[in-house]
């Protein structure tokens, strides 16, 4: 069963990472502002914490799994120098998967 999990790709390309970071920072900041104003209105700090936690959960759902929108700009690798003709015709995504770049 674990081999099925390992084969699910979990990485994103660079533009996707930037988008994911902007998304979660935006969601958490917006939920923090809403939570602060609502907590100040009902005079209960507990509501501020609950709204923040809801924002945290939403941004977890939006950015932790590798949705396809984060993988629209894959790295363009140089074509491999062919040792023998026709052997290294891999797709660019596959060669990116094999090389673990951070």
């Amino acid at each position: 069963m674990f081999s099925a999990f390992k084969s699910i790709p979990t990485d994103m390309d660079y533009k996707g990472q930037k988008l994911a970071e902007q998304i979660f920072q935006g969601v958490i900041l917006v939920s923090a502002v809403i939570g602060f104003i609502y907590g100040l209105f009902v005079q209960q700090f507990g509501w501020t914490v609950y709204i923040m936690l809801a924002g945290f959960t939403v941004s977890c759902f939006l950015t932790l799994p590798p949705w396809p929108m984060y993988r629209r700009n894959p790295l363009k690798w140089q074509p491999a120098v062919p040792e023998a003709s026709g052997e290294n015709r891999d797709k660019p995504q596959e060669s990116q998967k094999k090389k673990k770049h951070k």
Binding site: T10, M12, A20, F24, I28, A32, V42, F45, T48
Partner: protein, 180 residues
């Protein structure tokens, strides 16, 4: 940010920083508030005895008995940064041997969500009103005040005195204990 764990780490750390900033904001909105309310204290019975005091250096000390009524509305003090109030009733007086004496007679904890209208009648003191010596008899000016300690969610814990006090006088003679 390439792996799920790295994204989760970044997200969680950002959330904690934002939460800390919100808590600071909660503190700032209530830091300069005046937390004093008017308090009404009445005294119904005052008695004094001269008994053996095993905690002091002398054989017999004055022991006072005060029965009082307290009423106050604590609702304006509670806001989103107050967790509970610790109320205590203090008796303050001066004697020939000591210039300032302060004795706590009674205390109460009022949690957020409890009834905030304090209206207690005929309350006996919780703690012994011992004097350091024999200075309570015929003491003309004993002042009772109600103070409280505000316990916040975030920030400083102020000690606030309620506005309103009650002065009382102790009688000239001791009461002897009755035997039944």
């Amino acid at each position: 940010m390439n792996t799920v764990l790295s994204r989760a780490n970044s997200l969680f750390a950002f959330s904690l920083s934002v939460m800390a900033a919100l808590t600071f904001g909660c503190f700032i909105t209530t830091a300069f508030k005046d937390r004093s309310v008017p308090v009404d204290i009445q005294v119904s019975k005052v008695m004094i005895k001269n008994v053996d005091d095993f905690t002091g250096p002398r054989e017999r000390s004055d022991l006072g008995f005060v029965t009082f009524d307290i009423s106050a509305n604590l609702q304006p003090i509670f806001d989103w940064n107050v967790k509970e109030l610790f109320l205590y009733l203090t008796a303050e007086y001066s004697t020939k041997s000591n210039a300032l004496n302060q004795v706590v007679l009674w205390d109460k904890i009022v949690l957020r969500g409890d009834n905030t209208k304090l209206n207690m009648k005929d309350v006996k003191s919780k703690y012994f009103f011992f004097d350091d010596g024999n200075g309570l008899r015929a003491n003309k000016n004993i002042t009772l005040t109600l103070s409280w300690n505000v316990v916040p969610n975030a920030g400083i814990l102020p000690l606030v005195m309620g506005s309103g006090h009650k002065s009382l006088t102790f009688p000239e003679t001791y009461e002897t204990t009755k035997s039944y």
